[in-house]
Symmetry: D2
Subunit: 284 residues, 4 copies
């Protein structure tokens, strides 16, 4: 019988017996722990855990949840449960430069991203050629200062119609409204083309070049209302030197963006990221 | 009341309920889990865990062990327990080049290595000057082809007299006898000045230079009977290029050796390394 | 007037006045140096240089060469000259796994590799789908123990017919004959999926996993008669740990292979690599 | 006859024949080029070069300089010349934490830094113990808000008395006056404990921890009037994660600081750094 993994994520004030309560519950229902990660932030007295367990051969998940609920409540746990049999649905938003978008589609096509991708949305037609190679529907929704609200409404409608649970901004150079962001907390992932918090905002490679830094970076993070300030999932860096022109920074940075974004998205899809305030716990 | 951490390490065939058995035992004795790491090697069906728990306010450890023993036996566990109140005793063996030795002493003096260092032993007098700066007794035991056995016997005597539990070979360029190695399994740590298994044996920097590699490395590993083939704890690497002379490789490599050795020794002293065959599980 | 770069590469015994001879020659013909790299291997007393100069506004290159020849001869120089107005022609050979091949085609399509790619050759039909997306002709030449010679002859015929100057083995898992290799010295580039010289030969990820290394690598090198022993152009590495299964190593390694191969091929196409014995000088 | 290297550094507007003019001059005086590095910033049309040549067997340097001067003037060159026979004199300023200071002294003692160190100055007595191990005079000059000017004057007097040419701030946590800084342009090197421009100012590790970054860094730069904004010589980075407490960041960062500072100081002492505006050209 193949395994049927279910992921349980827990975040709560630290106290004695938390791991025991979780694993004891699973053991009492004869459910095998496939993988367990735990972290205690001793400064904040906060407990984080991720348990992957095998549901195969067990009763239905909803029944199990009912039995779990009182245990979680007694420990003040925030928790969520993801049945991997239900594939997540992810939408990609992309601007003119589609390197990150292509990388995501490539990995997805190769089976490295465990999700469905029902659509890609862009404000430009440029990415069409590459997206269509992957047989993923491509929607163009142009935007101008006047149509900003309307265009975003159209995006949100598409996202709802396609039951999208995760939105990835793959170099989508528009700023989302606070409303949109608030409607999908920790479910919008962005790639910023710098080593945040250095060079937040626009044209980070220009800024990096002018400042003469010797290392550049890329940052994959959840989107929050404050621009480029959301919880960081992953950062990648590469050395540069005086020989690197602005174009070289863009090219080298593009490689970083691709790998940091794919890595961050994969970690999210595997339920390996817990957010606590402005920080993340990432169980690699 | 300050915490009094005890480390429990477990390695055994995988089965259901192992984490629950461990954490349930601790919970039933009202012992708080400070940190828990777990890994299941699904290819070998093997389970590894490290639990740090707080003994403060509890009964004596020996009593607890007696209660733990039957649980461990019922799951076929190999296990060990380290009461951090008892500081480990570590000896350093060093040859002519004492950079690694100095780095260990420096970190130790700064409180970064949780152990006592009752002595440093060398086959050369060269390191005396630096070792004595740290007020650590320095023993010179010269060695030649004829005196090899006798010299090693003297080392082993010193180690026993000083109750040494961990031996670190900090660029000690002599090969230990199979007997010596067998007497301290996974308790002798070596630093090899290459990215093993590349360039095992002598003069690895010469080999690396001749081969024209673009990255060099250093490997911290447990010593086993087979030369440079023991379980790897840590590896560090750095890029090199055609401008690097042999001397540059030695200098750059020396930095790697220092950091890889300190890191490996620290991980060992924190009971973060479990050995399984030729491989290690390292809970960073 | 746009620049018209020409690359001059020189390798010769070291002596006084070499740079002066080269730059003096260019200055006397009013040719502007765009970029100059020089290296002296003091151990071998050998001189290496790469000069990019601007031919625009100058007389024809062949005339210039005739004037350069006696200078080069008087200093015992090995030299070659590449007029960037003439694009190189590159063929890709690929096996079943086509990740490296796709990466090359992608970069090439984006204008990052300065060459033409008249064809891709494989012993399997698998890569067809991806290659054809890039509108590059794809040739399948299956191979078996009996047809090895014949198949290689067919490859060489294709390569000649298409005026191919550089052959890239992008995970082409067949061993080329000594004859073939000798016919294109330092013009066949391979990507090996390990940090050479560790894990030469087949199944390097299996070897790396069994050995329990903490870092894996990929090596881009010129092919020579001896397997996996040719001059190294580029090496890339990434940390791994006990959680990484064999599949994880393959996936992580694949990313390394892609970037090391693209990087090595780009350096070659930019005439930045000089070979001297088993070593390379790479002017980044 | 041993070589007697002299370093010539040039920075000027780009024009044809610059390398030829430099190497031609040396060749005409029968001086052998040991090493040549050149860079043209095509965006700013600016030329940079470093030539190491061998003075042994030649006439006196001052005569040579007189012959060189008109050539330099005709090309509008900024230039400086360093005769390696004259050792530079370097002072270290240190605060309470002396890890960086110790690393510099250690490397210097091992012959890796080509300079004299006539004194170490601190505003605290704490570093005395370690500095005195290296037999380097240690001066304590305490500072308070009231005595700031006076204390700095005392420092400057010491520096002048000891003919100091390079000042290294090895975690000296006081801000130097604009006057002091202006008096030693590009001759005061600081190590900042973050990846600048992220986390400039005080308590960068606190800032990094609060922001939840996944990579931390250290920056070695020349001191200019504007705090933490001077030209960057070297940056080093290391990954961190949620398990790293503030103390861990401090410890890991300390390793970065040590290596970035030593590296930056070595590059400066070898005349490998040219400053142009806010950027550096570093000929590794």
């Amino acid at each position: 019988m193949p395994t049927h993994p279910v992921h349980l994520l827990v975040s709560c004030p630290d106290s004695k017996g938390l791991v025991s309560a979780m694993t004891g519950f699973l053991a009492s229902h004869d459910l095998n722990v496939l993988d367990l990660d735990q972290h205690t932030d001793s400064q904040e007295d906060w407990f984080f855990a991720r348990i992957a367990f095998d549901l195969s051969g067990s009763g239905p998940l909803p029944d199990l949840i009912e039995l779990w609920r009182p245990i979680a409540e007694s420990h003040d746990m925030s928790w969520r449960l993801h049945d991997t049999a239900e594939r997540r649905r992810m939408a990609i938003l992309v601007g003119k430069g589609d390197q990150c978008c292509r990388e995501l589609l490539w990995r997805w096509e190769d089976g490295q991203l465990d999700c469905d991708i029902p659509l890609v949305i862009s404000n430009h037609p440029d990415a069409a050629k590459h997206v269509e190679r992957f047989d993923v529907p491509f929607h163009v929704l142009p935007v101008s200062a006047e149509t900003r609200r309307e265009q975003e409404r159209a995006i949100r409608t598409l996202i709802q119609e396609h039951d999208v649970e995760l939105v990835v901004l793959a170099r989508y150079m528009q700023i989302l409204s606070a409303d949109f962001v608030a409607s999908m907390p920790n479910r919008i992932i962005n790639i910023h083309h710098s080593f945040l918090p250095a060079f937040a905002g626009s044209k980070p490679y220009h800024q990096a070049h002018a400042r003469g830094v010797k290392v550049i970076g890329a940052t994959c993070h959840y989107v929050t209302e404050e621009l480029d300030a959301g919880p960081i999932i992953e950062q990648a860096v590469v050395p540069v030197n005086h020989r690197d022109t602005l174009d070289d920074l863009v090219r080298k940075g593009s490689d970083l963006e691709r790998s940091a974004l794919v890595s961050g998205v994969r970690l999210h899809l595997q339920d390996r990221v817990l957010v606590h305030g402005r920080r993340t716990v990432v169980f690699h």
